[in-house]
Subunit: 145 residues, 2 copies
DNA sequence: CTCGATGCAAAGTATTTGCACCTAT
DNA sequence: ATAGGTGCAAATACTTTGCATCGAG
């Protein structure tokens, strides 16, 4: 699976930046995640695997991966960022459970089209969006009656 | 316009909390804003008006106003919160311009209904949502051709 | 060989908390 | 009276930055 590494290398080369071992290790770990994650979480997992990269380098690398289009930045109302890699994942939106904290994903084509229409009405050229619905998930509704 | 104060007092009383002068001053300033604002910004404006409330009290009061349903919390991708009061304002979503930082508001009934449908499909009981579309506004598109 | 990159620790930013004193109910 | 509230300053959480050294291209 060197496809991401190649993409990253190309992105870096284009702006005179270098693909260092550290950046490669971070990229590797990012794509090992199968869900949303936070910076500190990633660092912790790398340390568990005995992979050592400084916090500073991690914080310097994540934005690069976002700019390279390999990572997506999500804001979940907390005061730190969440990320998710883009490996063959289509865009999707989120349902956040206020009770158990679970994050469900969904995709709805009608929703996407509707947003295009709204933007057109405002003369707005969209580059992306975030839709986050807060509430209570199926399980938590059952649990509390 | 004591209607908000009454609502806040009722909210507080219900849980054995008190309506102090400081809380009243913060509430007053919140409804003096006609747009989104940040905690530090509000504090600054209060200081300009020679109204003195400690930072700690402000940070302790804002969440109360949110819980009381008088203030809405918005997350604009930055790492600090934005607020907007709810005085007779209907729910709306946002268009964020990446170039000039302008925030346009919009409301679309079809969008609201569509979200209800999506939630129903997932057995999810929504309490609210945030939809933020990022891109370039009409003016900035003109400016850059 | 030359910039860009790294690690460390110190500095920032936004927000929260402990504590001694104060006050709305 | 008394539980809750206040200001202050110290603490926290997350992220950024300065600097001396290192290493990819």
């Amino acid at each position: 699976m060197h496809e991401h590494e190649d993409a990253f290398r190309e992105f870096l080369a284009k702006r005179g930046l270098k693909l260092t071992p550290e950046r490669r290790l971070i990229l590797e770990e990012v794509f090992r995640q199968h869900d949303h994650f936070e910076a500190e979480e990633l660092l912790f997992r790398m340390r568990q695997r005995k992979v050592r990269v400084s916090k500073a380098t991690l914080y310097r690398t994540l934005p690069l991966l976002v700019k390279a289009g390999l990572l997506r930045e999500e804001v979940f109302g907390e005061r730190h960022l969440h990320y998710e890699h883009v490996h063959g994942r289509k865009h999707h939106d989120h349902l956040l459970c206020l009770s158990c904290g679970k994050i469900e994903e969904f995709f709805d084509e009608t929703m996407e089209q509707l947003q295009e229409q709204i933007c057109a009405r405002h003369g707005f050229a969209p580059t992306g969006h975030t839709l986050e619905i807060h509430g209570y998930c199926k399980d938590c509704r059952k649990r509390r009656g």
